[in-house]
């Protein structure tokens, strides 16, 4: 598919601007009524989901050129999917997410590139990760955990740690806690160690299709070779890419793909783990876009007139993972969960997605601080989430602002409650 293939979607926009707002039926205050970080920050209509549809239409109709200014519009967007969800409350015939992805591929193909993204792709080519860290150090985070190496031994469950968890030391305690927990439940878990590579999803989001496909193929063969029946990931980005972008690229994983929050619930339900220690904390849960609305499985492009497409065949964000993380938090004794106003499929983004963290850090941090403000106003003492990119964005934003507010990766709280000693993780 190309941008031009979505002409009908773009020409269907009625300019109602619902894509700029949280679900209208759910708005509870003036302050937290907006859903799109991009148009909330940059204000011109073109920076909204609908505005980007019109920009795309203007370009394919030859009314405008693909300039640097257009690339600015295309890339100052987290691909968070909030606009798509909002639009689809009302429409069956518009897929904003698909247009946003095609727009990026078009920019790359026609040479409208963003320097920071080029550096990420270079790093990916050299070291198989988007952070530019050495490939040889990819397994360092797992030292001493006794994880099986699937290159040598068979495992039922293959863990894909993802670039951020592998290299961000600040996040190692949470992924290590996850591994400890799963191993303690007697699961046959393994990982690919140094041979793990980026899933390629970020490259796809940035518009570099060729690179993305290469890494997806690599992932597919690694999973196949491992003989695992489950692919487990703690990375919400990776999870979304496996469920949405891989099939979009025509790549299908033939294993059960599970996010750690789902796996946790399976283990709790099977009675294989129990939360024992109290964690007396009032927290709020931030739905990562990639675990929530953007993890809804891919649905093949509807052939023909989308007005005839049944609602069940449109991705509207409902099929994301929302309940499991909440259920896991609720089962931690002493922990109180309070909700923010923008949650689930109408959640506000952390700011990191779509290459924004790397290319436009100020925009990313502004977006994150908006969310932290919302968490505070919900009366929470801490914000918990289930995505390493979100945790990074929140912590960096707080540091840049010189403010303090506890940000937890969910697995850190789980570790506390299970009673895994800190020195062990």
């Amino acid at each position: 598919m190309t941008l031009a293939d979505y002409e009908r979607d773009m020409a269907g926009c009625s300019r109602c601007t619902c894509c700029k707002w949280s679900a209208l039926s759910q708005i509870k205050s003036w302050r937290y009524a907006k859903n799109c970080p991009s148009v909330t920050k940059y204000n011109f209509h073109a920076y909204s989901g609908g505005g980007r549809l019109t920009a795309g239409l203007s370009i394919i109709k030859g009314r405008s050129e693909l300039t640097e200014g257009v690339a600015d519009i295309v890339y100052k967007c987290q691909l968070c999917g909030a606009c798509d969800t909002a639009c689809k409350i009302y429409r069956d015939d518009i897929d904003i997410n698909e247009v946003l992805l095609e727009f990026r591929a078009d920019c790359v193909e026609r040479g409208q590139l963003v320097l920071e993204h080029m550096l990420m792709i270079d790093a990916l080519k050299k070291e198989d990760n988007v952070l530019g860290e050495p490939k040889a150090a990819r397994d360092k985070w797992a030292e001493g955990l006794g994880l099986k190496d699937v290159n040598k031994q068979r495992a039922d469950v293959l863990l894909h740690a993802g670039c951020r968890y592998c290299y961000d030391k600040d996040l190692w305690p949470s992924i290590r806690a996850a591994v400890r927990l799963i191993l303690s439940a007697g699961i046959n878990l393994g990982f690919a160690g140094k041979n793990e590579s980026c899933c390629g999803g970020r490259a796809y989001e940035l518009g570099y299709r060729g690179e993305a496909e290469k890494y997806a193929d690599d992932m597919l063969s690694r999973v196949k070779a491992s003989g695992a029946i489950t692919l487990l990931t703690c990375c919400a980005d990776g999870y979304s890419h496996f469920r949405y972008l891989y099939p979009r690229m025509g790549r299908k994983l033939s294993v059960d793909v599970v996010h750690i929050t789902e796996y946790l619930i399976r283990l709790i339900q099977a009675g294989r783990i129990r939360f024992q220690r109290k964690v007396p904390l009032k927290v709020t849960y931030h739905d990562p876009c990639h675990l929530g609305r953007m993890s809804e499985p891919f649905i093949p492009e509807w052939e023909g007139d989308k007005l005839l497409r049944p609602s069940s065949l449109k991705r509207a964000g409902r099929g994301g993972v929302y309940e499991q993380p909440r259920a896991a938090l609720r089962s931690i004794p002493g922990l109180e969960l309070v909700e923010m106003e923008r949650i689930r499929e109408w959640s506000w983004c952390c700011g990191a997605g779509g290459g924004v963290y790397e290319a436009y850090p100020d925009f990313c941090f502004w977006t994150a601080m908006e969310r932290i403000d919302e968490a505070r106003s919900a009366g929470a003492e801490a914000l918990v989430t289930a995505c390493p990119w979100c945790v990074r964005a929140f912590r960096d934003a707080l540091e840049q602002a010189g403010e303090a507010f506890p940000i937890y990766d969910m697995m850190e709280l789980v570790a506390k409650s299970i009673g895994i000693p800190e020195e062990e993780v």
């Binding site: 300019r15 509870k28 009302y90």
Partner: protein, 546 residues
């Protein structure tokens, strides 16, 4: 292309990041498919877009426009063609950054807002005080300031909360000269509580029935009346759209009422108005309701005679929400309603614990559903809309039925079972409003090209029955035909314009503009009839036609 000097001056006025002349950004304001008669759906590309953040920045922008001989136009949320530039070289003022709620006066029941505080935001905040705001039929996504000062203003809560032009109190208005005029009490520094003084009382000139659609300057603040809200301070609902579930709060009732025919329907409306009961009342076109809920199923069954006949039998339906402050009050209202409906030969269906109550109650109170109208076809057009007695609204609905049938036969619109109108009553039933929606696909050239002829036909039918031109009065093509048949109103409007905007700085196409119709788009038989109607109704120098 905007001259560099003017561009620099705009940057000085509002800051670099708040001005753009990037073609793609500009096209974001030229694309206006909703209620657009031009089959291309693109309007003129503006020469620049600015995002003022305060009244002073609006003023400075207008001064720059004056200095460089540029036209300007403001928009709030910008949801329909009236917000687009209607001529070349317009500087658009997108008021998005002016989005605050400045004051909620609980005791005197008003709120002071900027242009881009949307209905949902204001409602959420004032409900905490036991208050509510009138919501126009476009829904809570639109700007209450825009509908109060500049365009239309009807909604289904009109029975209890009247209509936007009546609810506007003090106003801050930046004139096309750049001068700031304050209407009503703010004009005398006495707060915002009255639109009529002490201080200049110019509400009628500010907008009239339809509104000047950006043609008289920029409204930067206004106070709006608030009304009693006997519901909870925060409404908890599950679901986002048609799936909304919520509990009906104490002292609220929701009914669907069915009447046997138009006459009994109209009588019931009058009686409900006179009895002073009801919080929200709305006649929905039943076929349309089916179409938005089951768009594909409706396509399949629409041609079946039995389905059409069933809808025809049930079409005289309206939804009513009753709200009381006490058990006694709500019981009284229920008794009165039951009496009215039964005396008029109808029946009512209490939605009570029915799962549909969520969408009918919260859907109508928050009014978040209107964009669903785009679901079946992608676009719609709405016709008629002359506010007058309810009987005249019934006449409009009947005319609409006839016109719609004809367009359906030509396959120029989506078949919503040919059911016609949305109707509401205002102010104790003293007057009503009726619109007839036509759904179509904006990507279907044949259907898009049919929009203008449909509109002209509805106007002609209206004029023939002395119903006025309704909502289309702001359209330059329609104004050109309608004004000479209606007391040459545009002549007077132009007199006001001469005083308000002597230099013609505002894009006033929708205020006083006139344009020629392309007669070739009209069926020759209809053209003949149209000419007859025009000739019969033409005003002369000596006054109205005899």
């Amino acid at each position: 292309m905007l001259p560099d000097q003017a561009y620099e001056a705009l940057i000085d006025a509002v800051g670099q990041e708040n001005v753009s002349r990037e073609p793609v950004v500009l096209d974001g304001y030229a694309w206006q498919p909703t209620f657009n008669y031009n089959p291309e759906l693109w309007m003129e590309r503006p020469s620049a877009v600015v995002l003022p953040g305060s009244t002073e920045e609006v003023r400075q922008t207008i001064l720059v426009c004056n200095e460089y001989g540029l036209k300007f136009k403001a928009l709030s949320t910008g949801w329909c063609v009236t917000a687009a530039p209607w001529c070349e070289g317009v500087v658009i003022l997108d008021l998005r950054r002016m989005n605050r709620i400045l004051e909620i006066d609980e005791k005197n029941m008003y709120v002071v807002v900027e242009p881009c505080a949307i209905g949902a935001q204001i409602q959420a905040e004032v409900m905490r005080y036991g208050l509510n705001i009138h919501m126009i039929g476009a829904g809570c996504i639109s700007s209450p300031l825009a509908s109060a000062t500049s365009f239309m203003g009807h909604g289904w809560d009109g029975i209890y909360m009247s209509y936007s032009p009546r609810n506007v109190l003090g106003v801050e208005w930046v004139l096309p000269s750049g001068k700031v005029l304050k209407l009503g009490t703010p004009g005398s520094g006495l707060g915002w509580f009255s639109g009529d003084g002490p201080g200049p009382s110019l509400r009628g000139i500010m907008r009239g029935a339809i509104g000047a659609c950006g043609g008289v300057g920029v409204f930067t603040k206004c106070a709006l009346k608030l009304f009693n809200w006997p519901g909870p301070p925060v409404v908890e609902a599950e679901g986002l759209g048609l799936d909304t579930k919520t509990e009906l709060p104490q002292h609220f009732k929701v009914y669907l009422c069915f009447l046997p025919d138009w006459d009994s329907f109209a009588d019931s409306m009058y009686e409900i108005g006179e009895a002073e009961i009801g919080y929200i009342i709305n006649k929905n076109a039943l076929g349309l309701l089916l179409s938005v809920i089951f768009p594909r199923l409706t396509r399949k069954i629409a041609k079946r005679k039995a389905i059409k006949e069933t809808v025809d039998v049930l079409k005289n339906e309206f939804e009513i929400i009753l709200a009381g402050n006490s058990e006694r009050e709500i019981s009284y209202q229920v008794e009165v309603l039951e009496d009215i409906i039964s005396r008029n030969g109808g029946f009512l269906f209490d939605l009570g614990d029915n799962p549909l109550v969520g969408i009918f109650w919260w859907g109508l109170v928050r009014n978040y559903a209107p964009p669903i109208l785009f679901r079946p076809g992608g676009q719609f057009m709405t016709l008629f809309g002359s506010d007058d007695s309810f009987d005249s609204q019934v006449t409009a609905a009947r005319l609409g039925e006839r016109i719609k049938k004809e367009w359906l036969e030509k396959d120029l619109i989506y078949d919503d079972l040919g059911d016609t109108s949305w109707m509401h009553i205002f102010e104790n039933g003293m007057w009503g409003h009726c619109e007839v929606p036509f759904i179509f696909d904006p990507r279907n050239r044949r259907q898009v090209e049919a929009v203008m002829p449909e509109a002209i036909e509805s106007v002609m039918a209206s004029l023939e029955k002395n119903l006025g031109v309704g909502m289309l009065a702001m359209e330059p093509l329609i104004r050109k035909i309608a004004s000479p048949m209606q007391g040459n109103y545009n002549k007077w409007q132009k007199e006001f314009q001469r005083i308000i905007d002597p230099r013609g700085a505002a894009d006033s196409a929708l205020y006083t503009g006139e344009a020629e119709i392309d007669l070739s788009t009209i069926d020759p038989n209809k053209l003949q009839k149209m000419t007859e109607i025009i000739m019969k109704n033409l005003w002369t120098e000596s006054g109205p036609p005899r």
